[in-house]
Every structure is written in structure tokens, then in C-alpha cells.
């Protein structure tokens, strides 16, 4: 018997306790919709999270869920896959959880290519601990722990993921429901670790931090929507584009039809080109648009599958433990 589940069927009966207006609500809604559209079952789906506002996420799902400890969700999720590779495992994390205290686990889950869907809510702030700057906060961020402004450089989440060896790296924005659903579906379809950074607005401690590229009035000029095989065009009139600066490994913004620039000069997005993905991940306003969508997708050997294949290759499972402990040199003592 197959029942078609609706988005609401993926919501738990628990009252959602994020601040009113938090971007997390929109991501939760997108995930409900994604799972319904994918037609997955609740019992085979597991959400694992760490600590932070975003990590409350599993409690609001009607699937299996495990709200673990700060930064460790990728490790716990890896264990779930080691025990049962058939489960569909999502990791929900944040910029502090996944890139600061848990940076090491994010790194290794990605490089191993464990078949996990990792969704990192990036709000560039520590919300649950009341507003300290985070590892993705821009230089100069004033916060309770940096009253004069932060002096450390932020980490770029997607570049970090690419550097760690992630084979699926994408970006979306909390408020872009259809786009977010599409990206999450792509992530789910990718075999191996998929990494999705979602720009998420913290209405209380960092409100509007992404306005420079997410606000209605800036979005068109400051967002580059990536589509595999299509030219890297953006702007209200879709006449601005990216090309390689002649003789340099560097992107530049050009306008089609100006200074002799034709459509042929614009780079075409290639999801399998890691070097391009690295360049795209690093683009920042005001000079460049922010690249949104699938930056990189190129499947490769997947840890949990290969591990279980290795176990199968070791030979048939045995259960004669008397034989096991009697392996090697034994001797008999008679009465």
C-alpha cells in the first residue's frame, strides 16, 4: 500500500519554537515540500542535527530524528549509514555548528563522500547563544563578544566544502521556495555527500545581513542563477555575464553588447568543473553577483557503499564463533 504523502504529513505535532519571522520556517516548509515531491517514506528518512537554532529542525519533522551535540551531526549521521546504508539521512547544521565547532566532521563527511544530504543554514551569527559573531560573519561584525567589530576573516562555506572534496555543492536562499526545493531535490538525488548552503536570515540578531543580494531591489543585479549548460548571465535584462579575464584565472563581469562582448564570450556553467565552481563560490557583491544554485555536481566513489561492498567481498557472513576463537594455534589438555 502506497500512500502519497503531502508536505504537511512530514510535519511533526510539535509546536515550532523559532522566533517569528525566522528564515528557518521557510526552510522547514521547503523540506516538507521536497520530501513530499520526492515521494520518500517517513520511516526510512532520518534527520540528524547538532546544536543551534537550525538544529532544532528534527523535532519538527515526522520522520526519524536525532538532535545530537554541538558540531557532531555529520559523525552521528555517518554512524547511522554504517549501520544501515538503506536509510535516507539528512544532516541539518548551521554556520557555527558545521563550520566552527564541527568543522572537522563536516570536512571528513564530505571528503569520505558519505551518502548524506547536508544542509547548512548560514545566518552568519550565533543565534541560540544570543548573537555572537560566527565563522561566516564578515570582518567588522559587531556582536556581544566583538563590541569593536570582529577582526577575523570569514570562511566561505562552499569553498570550504569544495576544498574538502565535496562532490555536490549548492546554494540557495531561505526566501526562494521553489529554487530551494529544486536544489534540495538535486541534493537528495546525488549519491554521496551533498552540501547545500542556505542563506538564512536571523531576524533577531543579524536581520538583513544578506539584503545586499537577497532584497527585492538588489536580487536581480546581485544574484547569478546557475544552470548547467547555460551561460553565466544575470541582471534585470540578463545582459550581464561572467567571462574569464584574458590571460588570468579570474572572473570578470561584462555586459553583452558592450565593448565588443558577445554572448559567445560568456562562460557556460559546467557543474563538473571544480575549478569553475571554486571561482563561482568566491564571488561577492558589490563587484560580483552571488552564485546561487548547483555550483558543482560530479559523483564519485561513495564511502558507505564501498565499505559495505568491502564487507561483502570479505566473504560470506559466518556465525560459528567457536571456530573463530579456535583459529590459529590451539592445544588440547586431556584428563
Amino acid at each position: 500500500m502506497t500512500t502519497v504523502l503531502q508536505p504537511k504529513d512530514f510535519a511533526s505535532d510539535q509546536e515550532v519554537r523559532w522566533c517569528p519571522g525566522c528564515g528557518d520556517y521557510a526552510i522547514l516548509k521547503a523540506v516538507h515540500k521536497t520530501l513530499a515531491e520526492l515521494g520518500v517514506s517517513r520511516e526510512k528518512t532520518v534527520f540528524v542535527s547538532g546544536i543551534g537554532c537550525s538544529s532544532r529542525f528534527p523535532y519538527y519533522m515526522s520522520t526519524y530524528g536525532f538532535h545530537t551535540i554541538h558540531g557532531r551531526a555529520p559523525a552521528v549521521a555517518t554512524g547511522v549509514k554504517l549501520a544501515n546504508p538503506e536509510l535516507d539521512v539528512w544532516v541539518i547544521t548551521g554556520d557555527g555548528d558545521g563550520l566552527s565547532i564541527g568543522g572537522n566532521h563536516t570536512l571528513h563527511a564530505l571528503r569520505r563522500n558519505v551518502d548524506l544530504n547536508i544542509v547548512l543554514f548560514n545566518n552568519e551569527i550565533y543565534g541560540l547563544t544570543k548573537g555572537q559573531y560566527s565563522p561566516t560573519s564578515r570582518r567588522g561584525t559587531k556582536s556581544p563578544s566583538t563590541p569593536q567589530g570582529s577582526v577575523d576573516n570569514p570562511v566561505n562555506a562552499c569553498q570550504f566544502a569544495l576544498g574538502a572534496g565535496a562532490r555536490f555543492v549548492a546554494r540557495s536562499i531561505d526566501t526562494m521556495q521553489p529554487h530551494l526545493v529544486q536544489v534540495l531535490k538535486r541534493a537528495h538525488g546525488h549519491r554521496g555527500a551533498s552540501f547545500v548552503e542556505v542563506f538564512q536570515n536571523c531576524v533577531v540578531f543579524n536581520d538583513g545581513v544578506f539584503d545586499n543580494f537577497t532584497a527585492k531591489e538588489t536580487a536581480a543585479e546581485a544574484q547569478l542563477h546557475l544552470e548547467h549548460g547555460l551561460p553565466l548571465l544575470f541582471g534585470r535584462d540578463r545582459n550581464r555575464g561572467l567571462r574569464l579575464k584574458p590571460g588570468r584565472m579570474e572572473l570578470e563581469v561584462v555586459t553583452v553588447g558592450e565593448n565588443g562582448v558577445g554572448l559567445d564570450d560568456i562562460l557556460v556553467h559546467d557543474e563538473k568543473n571544480k575549478a569553475l565552481a571554486m571561482l563561482l563560490a568566491g564571488l561577492e557583491p558589490p563587484v560580483y553577483p552571488v552564485a546561487i544554485g548547483v555550483l558543482y555536481a560530479d559523483s564519485g566513489p561513495c564511502y558507505d557503499r564501498d565499505l559495505h561492498a568491502q564487507i561483502a567481498a570479505a566473504g560470506p557472513q559466518k556465525d560459528d564463533l567457536n571456530a573463530l576463537i579456535r583459529q590459529g594455534r590451539t592445544w588440547n589438555v586431556s584428563d
Binding site: S12, Q14, S41, R42, E43, K44, V46, F47, I51, P58, Y59, M61, S62, T63, Y64, G65, F66, H67, T68, I69, R72, P74, A75, V76, A77, T78, G79, V80, K81, L82, A83, N84, E86, L87, N104, H105, L107, H108, L307, H308, Q310, I311, A314, G315, P316, Q317, K318, D319, L321, N322, L324, I325, R326, G328, R329, T330, W331, N332, V333, D335
Partner: protein
């Protein structure tokens, strides 16, 4: 050239302690391990003590690069690696310098004179050759000076080895001689050599030739009183099939057996390389055909977290480390306690704090195991007494973990992990099962529904329709498992977690007395790998007519329910520990008994003489 002689009569010995000592590149551990197997096959009881430096290859010839392997064997029950050494095989001056102090007066030194070069003597800090000087510190011993280096080079000549490879066969020559000396066979060693160097036949042949040459030297050399053969009669042991086992192997077998007895199809074993625990990860990695999945994690924290994730998903999660690594796992242990998931954590303790002495043994993580977490976070703690006992302890750790849905810490230590002894192989099929039943019925399901007797919550595994639920580290409602910040609920949950672990006391055997009366003048109470020296010391003390008993604890949290009453039956309680007094503090605080500690933290096991002296002193003998 020695001429064949009629075999000289062998002298009979009850027990013998041999220490093979050399440079860390001299193959002393292999030598010791092979001597152990041949000795076990000869029917002696035995205990071994591998003792090696933390450095993999410390500068050759230095005292800090000395690696040693001690074996105590005999025709009676052998409980310890031996207090004093009867025979010291010294492959170089540094080995002699470091180990001579443990040789008993009149003991035998077998020294490779070929390695006593000026340079090696200098590196060992000798001003003159101790083998040559008259009336010096070696006067109390018998010295057998043999140019093993030269003999080895002779023996390997036909195989065309380079100087370096040729010299690496010295240990086999020495082994061959010692095997002759105690009337051992060589076949098991020849088999191992053939297997190990299957792809380099010239090396295999050279090693075999050296082994045989060393043996033949003993058989034929005319050395008069210098070289005597011995016979050590078989030990009267219980009939059955035996093998040698060290603590690491025994724990691996026990974990696999436990998972099978729990009817769990998969055991996920996670670890991060750390001395002396890594060997368990290596051993488990070769048990893939027995339902084992191994995972070398990026760090200690990831290792335990992956084990917890595996348990959440319905496998038996097991992780292993040593003290510093366990410290890193602490927060995650709290999660497993809160989430009430089964987990086994094996701690192969080493000397600390911090990096401490990674290859030296200690039992100083008892407080860490029992108390070392934030908040009220109880879990069960067991400790293995001997390598063979470690098998049973591992099975028991799994039983408690799955029955009570709790993390269980199994304490081993660097000595137990590496020490080997003969193991009377159990019939695994005869061990009672404790099959887990996963919850499948959605009717009335809550994730924290408890068994009224054990207080264990249900184990509902992802993939089961209708049981979808969320758990985590935030305090949860007693009934539903939903997040709860209610003050009374937290009180109740804290008490429930404590009661669940305390309740295990009703499910474990009453504390027995290992040796001696159940009440009297003095009880010597131990735990873990001090079993051997304490047992031996109590045995000797009782033979002297002293009123003393040995009580050895396997269960350290909770304690057996009769322990307090038992302890109060003795006028004095002595607690020898390889720490500065952890169990003694726990016994005093738990039972208000006037227990006294005996501490040793040198990185080496107790000698039975040390425990015996403390017994005599308590009883004012």
C-alpha cells in the same frame, strides 16, 4: 667448531622468568611472542609482559630505545609476569643496562658480545665493557657471553643477505638457543617464519637457519656448567582446548560474541588511532565476516558519535580508546546516556595525565569512567582482570548495554591489552543469549516507554513504520519523550537514569571472594589487571599463615549489592591500585569502611612481593 656431545641431563625447574631485551628494532616482541607459543604448546601455564618504548625506532643502541618482552612460565599456576627475572637475554649494552636491575642474584645473562662494541657501550653510558671488567656489578650473576652477531652472520651466509637483513636474524638465533635451553619445540616458529616471509624465501630461510643454529648451538656446544638445559614440567591445568590470548584479542572475541548473543546482525566498531587501544581496532577490522563494520574516524569525538549513530540505527555501537581519547568522548557519552542508547566503550588505560606514558600501563581512569562527565550522568563500568577474563567482560558489557539501553565502559589497560596467557576456550554456544527485541508495534508507542523492571526504554529503529520519533540531548518528558523543560520532570528523569543504573546491581552476581575467608583480619581488594599480583601475594601470605583474603571487583558501577556487607566483615581493607587511590576512595565513600590504599604508578604492574610486603605490614608481621 663445537663437537656433538651426548645430551646432558636437564635440570628441573618449577617456574622461570625470562626477559628478552634489545633495541626496538631487534624484534624482541616477535621473539617473545614465539617463545610464548612454544611454551604454551609445551603445556606450561604462563603470563607475559611486553614492555616497549613509545618511540617506534628510537636511535639505535640507546637506553630509551630498549624494548623488552618478559615471560613467566611454569609447572604450576602462573598469575603474574614474574617479580624477578631468572634469565635476561641482552642483545646490546643498553638492554643490559636498563634491565639488569630486575635480574635476581645468581640469574643468568645471555649477552651478545658482538653487539658490545665501543660505540654501543658509549651510547648505553658504559665507560668500560661490563662483560669484561672484573669484580663489577655483574659479579652476582652468571654471564653467558656469546657472539650471537657472528654466529648469525655465519648461519645466514648461504642466503646472500645484505649485512642489515642478516643482522635482523639475530633474534631468531637467540630464540633458538632459549628454546633449546627449556626443551621447547621449534615447529610453530618455523611455520610462522615461512608464512611471514612467504614472498621473500631467502629471508625465510635465513631466519629458519638462525633459529636452528641457535638451537643446535645449545645442543652441541661444550660450555660445561655455563650452559645447562632445563625441563619445566607441564602445569596441571583443567582439561580442554587452549590457545594463547591477549586482552585485545579476548575483548574483540567477546564483543563479537556479545553482539551475536544479543541477536544483533551488525556491530559497528569505531576508533581513532591511540596507543595502546589501536590494536583492538586492527583486530576488529579483520572480523568483517562476523557482522563487524569498522570505522576509523577523523577524531575521538567522531568515533563515539558514529557509534552512537549506529546504535540509534539498530546496530551495536562500540568505540575504543585510551584515557586522553576517552576525555574527548565525554560529551558524547552524556548524549548516549540522555538518549538512552546502548554503547560499549573500551578504555585501554595508560599512564597519564595528558600524553603521559603512552606505552606504559596504569589504572588511573576509574574516576573518569565512573564520574567523569558533566551533570548527573551514570553509566555501568566493568573492568577485566586477566586476558581470558576480558572475553567474559566484553560479553557482559554488551549484555548490560542492550538490556539497559545504556553506555557501558569496559576498562582494560596497556598491560592487559598486550599480555598473553593460555585461555581455556569456552563453548560459545553454551553462553546464554540475551536477544534484543526491537519495538515494532506502533500502538501506544512512545520512544521513552520503559520496561518497569529494568527501566530501559524501548529500542525503536529507523526503518520501522509507525515508530518515527525524535530523540536528543535536550531533557525530555518522562512519558512522551518530547522536549520538556518542566522542573519536576527533570528531577524525575535524573532519578530514573540513576535508578536504572543502580538497578543493574540486582542483575549481576554477588561479590565472591577470590581467595581466602569471607570475613577476617584483612581483605585485599583489587580491580582490573592487578588480579595476578594480588592473587599471588595473598596465596603466599596465606601459606605463611596470615589471615588474608583477596576480593577482586569486576563491577565498579554499580557495585555488587553485597559488597558493603562483605567488606565490613574484615578488620582491615587494603586496596592496591595502579593510581593514587581511586577505588579506595570510592569504597570509603560508598560504604564508610576504613579502607587503605596501596599505590603504584611507575607504569609497570605490581610485583606480588610489593603486595605481600603491604599485607605483612598491615598485619604487623
Amino acid at each position: 667448531m663445537a663437537t656433538p656431545t651426548v645430551s646432558r641431563p636437564r635440570e628441573v625447574r618449577d617456574t622461570v622468568v625470562i626477559r628478552f631485551a634489545g633495541d626496538s628494532g631487534d624484534g624482541m616482541q616477535v621473539t617473545g611472542a614465539q617463545f610464548t607459543i612454544e611454551t604454551a604448546l609445551a603445556g606450561n601455564d604462563l603470563t607475559t609482559f611486553p614492555d616497549f618504548p613509545a618511540e617506534i625506532r628510537a636511535p639505535a643502541g640507546t637506553t630509551f630505545g630498549v624494548s623488552a618482552f618478559q615471560i613467566h612460565f611454569g609447572s604450576q599456576e602462573i598469575l603474574t609476569p614474574g617479580d624477578e627475572v631468572d634469565v635476561l637475554v641482552a642483545m646490546n649494552p643498553a638492554a643490559l643496562k636498563v634491565n639488569i636491575k630486575d635480574l635476581k642474584a645468581g640469574g643468568l645473562v645471555v649477552a651478545d658480545t658482538g653487539a658490545f662494541t665501543e660505540r654501543n657501550l658509549q651510547k648505553a653510558g658504559y665507560e668500560s665493557n661490563p662483560l669484561e671488567s672484573e669484580g663489577d656489578s655483574l659479579a652476582r650473576f652468571q654471564i653467558l657471553k656469546l657472539d650471537i652477531t657472528k654466529q648469525t652472520l655465519e648461519a645466514v651466509k648461504p642466503f646472500g643477505l645484505g649485512q642489515k637483513d642478516a643482522l635482523r636474524c639475530r633474534n631468531m638465533w637467540a630464540l633458538g638457543l632459549l628454546l633449546w635451553m627449556y626443551g621447547r619445540e621449534r615447529q610453530a616458529t618455523l611455520d610462522v617464519i615461512a608464512r611471514k616471509f612467504a614472498k621473500r624465501t631467502e629471508i625465510a630461510q635465513a631466519n629458519a637457519a638462525c633459529l636452528n643454529a641457535g638451537h643446535a648451538f645449545g645442543e652441541t656446544a661444550e660450555l660445561g656448567a655455563d650452559l645447562t638445559g632445563y625441563v619445566v614440567p607441564r602445569a596441571p591445568v583443567r582439561p580442554g582446548t587452549y590457545r594463547t590470548v591477549n586482552g585485545t584479542e579476548a575483548i574483540a572475541f567477546g564483543l563479537v560474541t556479545g553482539a551475536k548473543k544479543a541477536a544483533l546482525g551488525r556491530l559497528v566498531f569505531t576508533g581513532y588511532p591511540i596507543t595502546p587501544a589501536s590494536a583492538l581496532l586492527h583486530t576488529m577490522a579483520n572480523l568483517k565476516q562476523y557482522g563487524v563494520v569498522t570505522f576509523q574516524a577523523e577524531d575521538e569525538i567522531a568515533a563515539i558519535c558514529a557509534a552512537i549513530g549506529a546504535s540509534f540505527a539498530g546496530a551495536l555501537g562500540v568505540t575504543s580508546s585510551s584515557g586522553p581519547g576517552v576525555a574527548l568522548k565525554t560529551e558524547a557519552l552524556g548524549l548516549a546516556i540522555a538518549a538512552e542508547l546502548p554503547l560499549v566503550l573500551v578504555n585501554s588505560q595508560r599512564a597519564g595525565p595528558s600524553t603521559g606514558l603512552p606505552t606504559k600501563t596504569e589504572q588511573s581512569d576509574l574516576f573518569q569512567a565512573v564520574y567523569g562527565r558533566n551533570a548527573d550522568a551514570p553509566l555501568a563500568v566493568l573492568a577485566a582482570a586477566t586476558p581470558a577474563d576480558a572475553f567474559e567482560c566484553a560479553v557482559e558489557a554488551v549484555r548490560l548495554a542492550v538490556k539497559y539501553m545504556t553506555p557501558v565502559i569496559l576498562l582494560s589497560d596497556g598491560f592487559l591489552a598486550n599480555a598473553a596467557e593460555p585461555w581455556l576456550l569456552p563453548d560459545v554456544d553454551a553462553i546464554p543469549g540475551f536477544p534484543v527485541s526491537f519495538r515494532t508495534d506502533p500502538t501506544g508507542f512512545y520512544p521513552y516507554l520503559r520496561d518497569p523492571k529494568t527501566l530501559a526504554r524501548v529500542w525503536a529503529v529507523p526503518g520501522t513504520p509507525g515508530l518515527e520519533h525524535r530523540i536528543g540531548g535536550i531533557e525530555r518528558s518522562y512519558d512522551t519523550g518530547h522536549i520538556s523543560y518542566e522542573p519536576e520532570n527533570h528531577q524525575r528523569m535524573t532519578e530514573t537514569r540513576a535508578a536504572k543504573i543502580a538497578g543493574i546491581a540486582a542483575d549481576i552476581p554477588l561479590q565472591q571472594v577470590a581467595l581466602g575467608p569471607t570475613r577476617g583480619s584483612l581483605a585485599v581488594v583489587g580491580w582490573g589487571s592487578t588480579f595476578g599480583p594480588i592473587q599471588q601475594a595473598v596465596k603466599l601470605a596465606r601459606a605463611e599463615g596470615l589471615d588474608v583474603a583477596h576480593i577482586h571487583l569486576r563491577y565498579l558501577n554499580p557495585f555488587p549489592r553485597n559488597l558493603g556487607e562483605l567488606l565490613r566483615g574484615y578488620q582491615q581493607i587494603l586496596v592496591p591500585e595502579m593510581n593514587t587511590g581511586q577505588l579506595v576512595t570510592m569504597l570509603r565513600s560508598s560504604f564508610l569502611v576504613p579502607a587503605i590504599g596501596l599505590s603504584k604508578v611507575t607504569g609497570r604492574p605490581f610485583k606480588s612481593a610489593e603486595v605481600l610486603a603491604a599485607i605483612r605490614s598491615r598485619l604487623e608481621v
